[in-house]
């Protein structure tokens, strides 16, 4: 069948050449049948005439195709295609070679701190849990947040709400089961979210098996903790714990003192013992194997203590040594940031890097260390030129903003970090966590929006403590739960740990428990809640979301230059720009009283600036740079377009982590 058909077609091909260069349809065959007779005749003519025609066979074609007018273009076309291919490959290689490193997930997204007790309760026991967090994952989608740090949920007797770990490989039943954790991690990864866990190397709970074996002197656990000979009434030296009183506790069973930098239920691990380092490294592996994306390393500066056990010098030498019982009365020369600490941390980083090899699976490491005036100690956690350490240590300095709230103060605190940070490193910003009063209370609610705007427009990674996105403030709880607060009510951390306010329903939508939640719900929950604010485009959460989306979408905000423009008693103003991009941003934050700012002296700014976002509703859509009015606590994100770059003339006022320029024609970044 097929053969006959092919023959027909080929006959047609010839006929086609003479009579029909275009299209032929099978059913037309009969119509053309009479012509076939003439075909043979014409065919001969065609050969003798030697004129090319459409559908000519090889013999005819070869007579003409060698002509220069066909051969030359043919050759040219062929070589052109080859050259094109080579050029395309060369262009690709050039772009790859010129591309700057791309931002990792922890640089692209803000870090959101979830305090699991207070985030969402799924089983109506009044305390939040892992299943609850899973229920609320869409909240992070809404806020365009990809990195979630969950405060500890290890098995724990809860003397320090999870920071006293009884078993590093189990989930506390209060928060759920290991299955719940696996489910949470899987659904987070499904949504492209990253989970950062708390990792608590300094101490365990006194209920931890290691401690129980250690106090009984059983090898190899005997030296897992720091044991020193002492008597019941006389500690070995004057060292005091962070939570107050001596950091030595006499143990009846072992007839020795053990050392604890926090509660006496939190004995310090002995990191001079290689077995302890190995145990703790194994725990890192355990969670990384499960797929955890990073660790927030708790209280790392406390990990090592001087072996000589000398008394620490008093801040006030004249003070009666017997009254020294709080952290700030001593210089902690022998208990904080001891030599050897960074070797341990660097080795952990090496272990984590093994798991970071898969593309897009960088395992993140962030340090918690309050070093106050000694900022160089904090900066050391960035690592050195020869050994990488954490991706960044938390920057807690913005927490001092409320002490003397003003534009100048804001600039000063931002500059503390920017000036001390090693070159090429990535900054970060924190204004609140479970240990510090909420910024909305310490700075005042009216400044909350401006502070959020600052976090999300400064260069680097902002950290958002749950509730900051809706403007939660401290709550005066009726019953103190925090052990630190029980020691001294002024130190209670409960006010900043109250349940998340989801809606205006029972318990602010946090829990279905009829009687009570573990801490009181804030009285303002009927207006300050996620549901109500999502419906309002001028709410804090809507503004947070807009800024977060903008931060992800605009190169100038995510990895561009950061330059100080102005700071005075009221206003802190800075700009974000990117080489090769016309669009740039000016941020004007009011941390004082109503004022009008005149930036006409900044020649790089164009005369007219367009409002991108104002934290307080304003009618004006554009401002002249000589008259930018801001009211108390207002944040203004202004957009402008110019070819002039501010940073090229003000190198000392500007910072960038890694230089990159934008090439708009190809929509690429390149090293410059």
């Amino acid at each position: 069948m097929s053969l006959t058909k092919v023959t027909n077609i080929d006959a047609l091909e010839l006929e086609d050449g003479v009579q029909n260069a275009a299209f032929q349809e099978d059913e037309d065959r009969s119509r053309h049948e009479p012509a076939v007779v003439s075909v043979t005749g014409q065919e001969e003519v065609a050969y003798t005439q030697i004129k090319p025609y459409a559908g000519m066979p090889k013999e005819v074609l070869m007579l003409y195709s060698k002509q220069a007018c066909y051969r030359v273009p043919r050759e040219i076309l062929f070589w052109l295609i080859i050259v094109c291919t080579l050029v395309l490959i060369a262009v690709t290689i050039a772009i790859v070679a010129l591309s700057p490193r791309c931002l990792s997930w922890w640089q692209v997204s803000p870090v959101y701190q979830v305090y699991p007790r207070s985030f969402k309760d799924s089983n109506a026991d009044g305390v939040g849990d892992l299943k609850g967090i899973k229920e609320k994952l869409s909240h992070f989608d809404y806020l365009n947040i990809k990195a979630i740090w969950i405060s500890p949920f290890y098995k724990s007797p809860m003397r320090d709400f999870g920071y006293d770990v009884e078993d590093f490989r189990q989930i506390d039943p209060l928060f759920g089961t290991m299955q719940d954790f696996d489910d949470l991690l899987a659904s987070m990864h499904d949504k492209g979210l990253k989970l950062i866990m708390d990792y608590i190397p300094n101490h365990t709970s006194d209920k931890h098996l290691w401690f129980q074996l250690s106090r009984n002197g059983i090898e190899p656990y005997k030296d897992y903790y720091i044991w020193v000979n002492c008597t019941e009434d006389k500690p070995p030296n004057n060292w005091v714990s962070v939570f107050g009183n001596s950091s030595w506790e006499y143990d009846e069973m072992r007839k020795q003192c053990y050392f604890h930098q926090f509660l006496k239920e939190q004995p310090d691990l002995n990191f001079r013992n290689p077995l302890v380092i190995q145990e703790m490294t194994d725990i890192i592996h355990f969670w990384l194997k499960k797929g955890v994306d990073g660790f927030r390393m708790d209280a790392v500066k406390h990990m090592l203590e001087a072996k000589h056990l000398r008394n620490e010098p008093q801040v006030d030498p004249d003070q009666d040594p017997s009254t020294v019982d709080t952290e700030f009365e001593l210089f902690h020369d022998y208990t904080y940031s001891q030599p050897g600490l960074h070797e341990i941390l660097t080795n952990w980083r090496v272990e984590m890097d093994i798991y970071s090899r898969e593309p897009g699976r960088h395992r993140f490491m962030v340090m918690e260390s309050y070093d106050y005036e000694e900022i160089e100690k904090t900066m050391r956690y960035y690592g050195t030129s020869y050994a990488t350490e954490s991706d960044f240590p938390f920057n807690f300095y913005l927490m001092y903003l409320p002490d003397a709230l003003s534009g100048n103060r804001a600039k000063e605190l931002v500059d503390v970090w920017m000036k001390n940070m090693p070159e090429g490193k990535w900054p970060n910003w924190v204004v609140g966590n479970h240990d510090k009063p909420r910024i909305g209370t310490s700075a005042g609610r009216e400044y909350l929006r401006a502070i959020n705007m600052m976090l999300l427009t400064l260069p680097g990674t902002p950290t958002t403590y749950y509730g900051e996105e809706i403007g939660m403030v401290n709550v005066n709880v009726s019953v103190i739960q925090d052990p630190f607060g029980k020691f001294n009510p002024n130190n209670s951390r409960d006010p900043q740990r109250t349940p998340m306010q989801w809606s205006d329903k029972l318990n602010a939508g946090f829990s279905d428990n009829e009687t009570a939640t573990w801490l009181d719900i804030a009285p303002d929950y009927d207006t300050v809640n996620v549901e109500a604010q999502q419906a309002d485009s001028n709410s804090i959460i809507s503004q947070y979301r807009t800024l977060s989306l903008l931060r992800g979408a605009e190169l100038a905000l995510s990895r561009g230059w950061f330059c100080y423009v102005r700071s005075d008693a009221n206003v802190f103003a800075y700009l974000r720009e990117m080489d090769g991009k016309q669009k740039a941003f000016l941020v004007v934050l009011n941390f004082g009283e109503d004022t009008v700012t005149d930036l006409s002296s900044v020649s790089e700014l164009p005369d007219v600036l367009t409002v991108d976002l104002s934290t307080t509703p304003i009618i004006q859509k554009t401002f002249s740079k000589s008259r930018i009015p801001t009211s108390k606590g207002q944040g203004l994100l202004l957009q402008y377009s110019t070819d002039k770059r501010f940073h090229s003339n003000h190198a000392s006022e500007c910072y960038v982590s890694e230089k990159a320029c934008y090439f708009s024609a190809l929509d690429i970044l390149y090293k410059c």
Binding site: M1, S2, L3, V6, T7, I9, D10, E13, L14, D16, G17, N20, A21, A22, F23, Q24, E25, D26, E27, D28, P52, Y53, A54, G55, M56, P57, K58, L61, Y64, S65, Q67, Y70, R74, L77, I81, T85, L88, I89, V91, T92, I95, V96, S99, C102, L103, S104, W105, D182, A186, H189, D190, G291, R357, E358, P359, G360, H362, L666, D667, I668
Partner: protein
């Protein structure tokens, strides 16, 4: 049953007549084949460039430049020599089998070392709903799509009656076995959850098992996609050629290069369309909507088989298959065409249908009625192109 090149086309032609066959070649020649080629080239480019951008997506320019280069290289190779194209294909297929071999062997080693924890309760949490099974079929069949490619080159097979079934009989079980073995290897280092969440399972496997040689996996994946692109180009050329021969697209597309004995015009046409398809921003999504068209034609082809069982009883059938198979395929195709549309009706399906039916707009004036003026344009154009490219109409099959 039909030994001509061109995949489903001859079946549709015999079974349902020229209009449907025309619509098939119209959709396939203009959209399905070149876009398929473009997509494979794009994924090859993406695989080749991602290792240089750990943690983020490479800029579009790079993937597009590389994809274009890939299309050009493959098209040139295919135009120059069938033999060379075959060698390229063999080399890259061998590379693909080699990496599969490496993965399987390292998987077996790991299993021998006792990494079997992921095989306990393998089916816990498996869902058994009707829709899920349909989806599983869809994805499963996609993996075996290769069987269909042979149909496009039937004429170029030596002794097709023997070799075509042989290729399928060897090919499908080979693919099946490799597929299963590779997945077993994956499970030796990954939990089912990790497997599902890995953006590129083989790469993850390489990172975990083959380090510090983990770079071989992405490299061989690039090889594999390049080979697939070559195969796609090869078959696309044949289909376009067949359609041109039937007069359903301009005839010059069916011409053969005098020097190289390749369907050069068809290949070039396909290559040019493919390059056009990689230029716009996100072609993938739109192209995905055309996949329902693909299954529509698969179904029709099998329906044609059934029809011909009754209308063309006299035909010689070198390979005879039980009638139940085409019936099943028709039913499955109906399901696969209708399910996504009913499940998530979107306006794009309508656009695709309009585009396919829109082919008739060209069919009526150019093919059915053949207006005179079209010849005046096409004839000199064909002639000059013929001379430029040194192509002639195919000769008789001896």
């Amino acid at each position: 049953m039909i030994t001509k090149s061109g995949g489903e086309y001859p079946y549709l032609m015999e079974g349902f007549g020229p209009v449907l066959a025309y619509l098939y070649s119209w959709t396939t020649v203009i959209v399905l084949k070149p876009s398929g080629f473009a997509i494979i080239a794009l994924s090859c480019a993406e695989y080749a460039s991602t290792p240089f951008y750990p943690g983020c997506t490479p800029p579009q320019v790079i993937t597009k430049c590389l994809a274009a280069a890939c299309i050009l290289i493959i098209t040139v190779v295919n135009c120059l020599s069938v033999k060379l194209a075959f060698r390229v294909q063999n080399f890259f297929t061998a590379a693909k089998l080699l990496i599969i071999f490496v993965i399987v062997v390292s998987g077996i080693v790991l299993l021998a070392q006792g990494n079997t924890q992921n095989f306990e309760d393998s089916f816990t949490g498996a869902s058994t709903s009707f829709g899920a099974i349909g989806l599983a079929f869809y994805n499963g069949l996609w993996a075996y799509d290769g069987w269909n490619q042979l149909n496009f080159i039937t004429e170029e097979l030596k002794n097709p009656y023997r070799n075509l079934p042989l290729a399928i009989i060897i090919g499908i079980p080979l693919v099946t076995v490799c597929y299963i073995l590779v997945n077993i290897a994956y499970f030796s280092v990954m939990t089912p959850v990790e497997l599902l969440q890995s953006p590129a399972v083989a790469v993850t496997f390489g990172d975990r098992v083959l380090y510090p040689l983990s770079w071989v996996v992405p490299l061989f994946v690039v090889f594999s996609t390049f080979g697939a692109a070559n195969g796609s180009c090869f078959t696309a050329g044949r289909l376009t050629y067949a359609a041109g021969r039937e007069g359903h697209v301009v005839r010059i597309l069916s011409y053969i290069s005098v020097k190289h004995l390749t369907p050069a015009p068809a290949l070039m046409f396909n290559g040019i369309l493919s390059i056009i398809y990689i230029i716009p921003g996100d072609i993938n999504t739109l192209i995905n909507f055309f996949s329902f068209a693909k299954w529509f034609f698969y179904g029709l082809t099998c329906a044609a088989l059934i029809v011909m069982r009754f209308t063309r009883k006299e035909l010689h059938r070198p390979v005879k298959i039980p009638i139940i198979i085409p019936i099943v395929v028709v039913i499955v195709s109906c399901y696969l065409v209708l399910a996504p549309i009913i499940d998530k009706p979107e306006i794009e399906y309508l656009y695709c249908t309009v585009f396919i039916v829109g082919g008739l707009l060209l069919y009526v004036p150019f093919i059915h009625f053949k207006f005179n003026w079209t010849r005046h344009i096409m004839r000199p154009l064909t002639m000059h192109l013929q001379l430029l490219l040194e192509v002639v109409p195919p000769e008789k099959i001896k």
